[in-house]
C-alpha cells in the first residue's frame, strides 16, 4: 500500500477550526487570554507554521532523541567523567540545573495556554507538541541533575532553587512569569518562542554545549543540545504569529520583542556570561561570551526580526556596549556575594585568564582589573573577611540584578551609574536606562519586590547577612565559595601598594 505524502493529508488535521454556533467566540477565546487586540479575529485564519510535523513523526522522533540522550548518560554514569570535571565547569552546570529546570516546567504552562487559547487550530496543535517538549525538558534536566545530588548537595538545588527566595530565583521568576504565565497567548508567542527560543536559548543550549564538550562534560553537552532540537521546532510558533501581528499592530509587535529581548539579555549576562568567560577553564573556552552573542544573537536573531520588517530595539547601543561590561560586573558581584549562590564561583582571574580577558575585551583591565587586584591582595594576605559581603548590593527594580553597570562618561572615566525614577512618591532605582524605560512603560504590571525591597520593609529577619542567607534558603552545606582560590597564587609576589587615603580622591 502506498502511503499518502504528509502534505497530501496534513491540512485535514491541521485546520480544525470551525464556526462556533452554541457560544460566542469571545467566550471560548477571551481577549485577556487570547489577546488578539487590534488584529481582526479572522486574520488568524492564515496562521501557518513553516516547520510542519505530524503526530506519528513527532512520537517516533522524540523516542529516538530520548533513547540517545539516556544511552549516553547510562554509559557515562559508570565512568569517572564527573569526578574529572573542573569545579569551575561543574558550577556552570549547577547554575544551569538550578536556573533552568523549573523554567522548563513553567514553559509547559505557556505552551498549554497557547494550546488552549491560540487563535488558530494549527497553532494550538504546534503548542501541544511544545507542551510535550517542555515536559521532556523539565524531566530530563531534573533527572540528569539528580544523579549528582549524592556526590554534592549543591545539585539538590536543581529542584529546590525556584522554590526559594534566593535573589536569583526572584529575578528569574520576575522575568519568566511575565514572559510565560501572565501574558496573553499572542504576547507569549512573541516573547517565548520567537525572542527567547529562536534567539537566546541557542546561547545556553547550543553555544554552551561547545564549552561543555571541550571541558569534558559529554553528558551535559549531549543533554542540552538534544533539548534544543525541540526548541528549534516549537520556537517556530513565533514566526507566523509575528507575521500577523506586524501586519495589524507593528507597534505592539516591536514593543513586545524589545521587552523580551532586554529581559533575556540581562538574565543571560548574569548566568551564561560568567559560565562562558570565567567558569569554563580558559583552555577550554571555544569563544568568548561576546563572540557567541555575536554569532547567535547579533547576526542570527537580528536577521530574523528584520526579516519580519521590524527594527533593532531602541536600546541597541546600550545593549551592544553592555556586551563588554554587564557580565564582567555581574561575575564580580556573583563572586563577592558567593554565599548567596548554590554553586562555587571560581574567580578565574589568574594571569592566563587575564591575558585572555584582555584579548577578548580590550577595556577589561581598565574597568575591572584594579577591583580584582584589591580582592587578590586581600586573599594573598589572608584577609578573607574583607572579600566577603557585609551588606547587600542595590538590586534593580526591573531585572532584580545588582546595579553594577559601568559606563564611560564624557570625562573618559568609567563609573557605575544609577538610573532613578520617581513614581507615586517612591524613588525606584535601575541598573540601566533600558530597565528604567521598560519598567515605566509596564508600570501597571505587577512587579515582584526585590530582595532589597523586602529587606527594607522588614520582611527579612534578623536584618543581617545571616538573616538574609536564611531567607534565601541557603544552608552551610550548599552556600557558595570559591573552590580553591588557587588563581590568586599567581600574584603572591605582587608589590602591594598600601592604600593611603588621599584628600579629595
Amino acid at each position: 500500500m502506498t502511503l499518502l505524502k504528509r502534505e497530501e493529508w496534513q491540512h485535514l488535521v491541521r485546520e480544525v477550526d470551525w464556526t462556533l454556533s452554541y457560544v460566542d467566540d469571545e467566550a471560548v477565546y477571551p481577549e485577556w487570554m487570547s489577546g488578539t487586540g487590534k488584529v481582526p479575529r479572522e486574520a488568524w485564519a492564515k496562521w501557518e507554521e513553516d516547520y510542519k510535523v505530524s503526530y506519528p513523526e513527532y512520537v517516533a522522533t522524540q523516542r529516538e532523541k530520548e533513547s540517545s540522550a539516556y544511552a549516553v548518560k547510562a554509559a557515562l554514569q559508570r565512568s569517572t567523567a564527573w569526578e574529572n570535571l573542573s569545579e569551575g565547569w561543574k558550577s556552570s552546570t549547577k547554575m544551569h540545573f538550578g536556573g533552568v529546570t523549573l523554567v522548563e516546567s513553567e514553559a509547559v504552562l505557556a505552551e498549554l495556554k497557547m494550546a488552549r487559547f491560540g487563535l488558530n487550530g494549527s497553532w494550538r496543535n504546534m503548542a501541544v507538541f511544545g507542551a510535550l517538549d517542555e515536559i521532556r525538558h523539565a524531566q530530563i534536566t531534573l533527572f540528569f541533575g539528580h544523579e549528582f545530588v549524592g556526590k554534592d548537595p549543591q545539585y539538590d538545588w536543581t529542584q529546590k532553587m525556584f522554590h526559594t527566595n534566593d535573589w536569583v530565583a526572584v529575578s528569574l521568576r520576575n522575568l519568566f512569569d511575565g514572559m510565560m504565565v501572565t501574558s496573553n497567548v499572542v504576547d507569549i508567542a512573541i516573547q517565548l518562542p520567537l525572542t527567547f527560543e529562536t534567539g537566546f536559548t541557542n546561547l545556553q543550549f547550543v553555544a554552551l554545549s561547545a564549552d561543555a564538550l571541550e571541558s569534558g562534560d559529554v553528558n551535559f553537552a549531549n543533554m542540552i543540545s538534544s533539548i534544543q532540537t525541540d526548541e528549534a521546532r516549537h520556537a517556530q510558533q513565533g514566526g507566523p504569529t509575528l507575521e500577523i501581528l506586524v501586519e495589524h499592530d507593528p507597534v505592539r509587535a516591536q514593543w513586545v520583542i524589545d521587552k523580551a529581548f532586554w529581559g533575556s539579555a540581562r538574565a543571560f549576562a548574569a548566568l551564561t556570561g560568567p559560565a562562558m568567560d570565567y567558569y569554563t577553564p580558559v583552555e577550554h573556552r571555544k569563544q568568548s561570551y561576546r563572540e557567541f552573542m555575536e554569532e547567535w544573537i547579533i547576526d542570527q536573531f537580528v536577521r530574523t526580526i528584520e526579516d519580519y520588517g521590524l527594527k533593532k530595539p531602541w536600546f541597541w547601543d546600550e545593549f551592544m556596549k553592555g556586551l563588554d561590561t554587564w557580565h564582567h560586573a555581574l561575575h564580580m558581584g556573583l563572586w563577592y556575594w558567593r554565599p548567596t549562590l548554590w554553586w562555587k564561583p571560581t574567580a578565574a582571574v589568574s594571569k592566563d585568564d587575564r591575558d585572555w580577558l584582555r584579548e577578548k575585551y580590550p577595556n577589561w583591565e581598565k574597568v575591572y582589573g584594579d577591583k580584582w587586584d584589591v580582592i587578590i591582595d586581600n586573599v594573598n594576605r589572608g584577609d578573607m573577611e574583607l572579600t566577603l559581603p557585609e551588606t547587600l548590593p542595590w538590586l534593580c527594580s526591573m531585572c532584580h540584578l545588582p546595579c553594577c553597570v559601568a559606563t564611560l562618561g564624557y570625562d573618559n572615566r568609567w563609573r557605575v551609574r544609577d538610573y532613578p525614577l520617581k513614581h507615586n512618591g517612591v524613588t525606584y532605582h535601575f541598573c540601566t536606562a533600558g530597565c528604567r524605560q521598560i519598567w515605566w512603560k509596564d508600570r501597571d504590571n505587577l512587579n515582584h519586590p526585590t530582595v532589597i525591597d523586602r529587606f527594607l520593609a522588614g520582611e527579612i529577619q534578623p536584618m543581617d547577612v545571616g538573616g538574609i542567607l536564611g531567607y534565601m534558603g541557603l544552608t552551610p552545606d550548599v552556600m557558595g565559595d570559591d573552590p580553591d582560590y588557587s588563581w590568586a597564587a599567581d600574584y603572591k609576589d605582587r608589590l602591594i601598594v598600601p592604600r593611603v587615603p588621599v584628600a579629595g580622591a
Binding site: 505524502k5 504528509r6 502534505e7 513553516d50 516547520y51 510542519k52 510535523v53 513523526e57 517516533a60 522522533t61 529516538e64 532523541k65 540517545s68 541557542n202 543550549f205 547550543v206 553555544a207 554545549s209 561547545a210 561543555a212 564538550l213 571541550e214 553537552a221 549531549n222 543540545s225 538534544s226 534544543q228 532540537t229 526548541e231 528549534a232 521546532r233 517556530q236 514566526g239 507575521e243 500577523i244 506586524v246 501586519e247 507593528p250 571555544k286 569563544q287 542570527q300 536577521r303 526579516d307 519580519y308 520588517g309 521590524l310
Partner: protein
C-alpha cells in the same frame, strides 16, 4: 558569504554524512562548515536544501528524513519541511511585513 542560511547540527556520528548529502543537494553553491565541536554550522548563500534521497545515499536506505530533526539543534533562515526535503531560505520581507 551573503545571506548565509542552513542547519546547525548537534554532535553525532552522522554529521559528516549529512554535510555530504547537503553538498550533493546544492551543487551550485559553496557550502561552508563551521565546526565548533559540539555543534556544526552548515551554511550556504540564499537557500540550502537537503533531500531524503541524498540522506539515504549517505546514511543507508532506512534513514528517514524526520530523523534529521534529532540532530537539528538550530538553523538560520526560514525552514520549509515537506516529506521529501527540508530547506532553509533567506527570506526577504514577508508578505504583510512593513516596508
Amino acid at each position: 558569504m551573503d545571506h548565509p542560511v542552513g542547519p546547525v547540527l548537534r554532535m553525532c556520528d552522522e554529521v559528516e554524512s549529512v554535510v555530504a548529502a547537503i553538498r550533493d543537494d546544492n551543487p551550485d553553491i559553496d557550502i561552508d562548515v563551521v565546526d565548533r565541536g559540539s555543534y556544526v554550522r552548515v551554511q550556504g548563500p540564499g537557500r540550502v536544501r537537503v533531500t531524503e534521497a541524498s540522506l539515504q545515499r549517505h546514511l543507508g536506505p532506512a534513514f528517514e528524513l524526520r530523523s534529521l530533526q534529532t540532530m537539528l539543534s538550530s538553523f538560520a533562515g526560514r525552514i520549509h519541511t515537506s516529506s521529501d526535503e527540508i530547506s532553509w531560505e533567506w527570506a526577504t520581507k514577508r508578505e504583510g511585513a512593513r516596508a
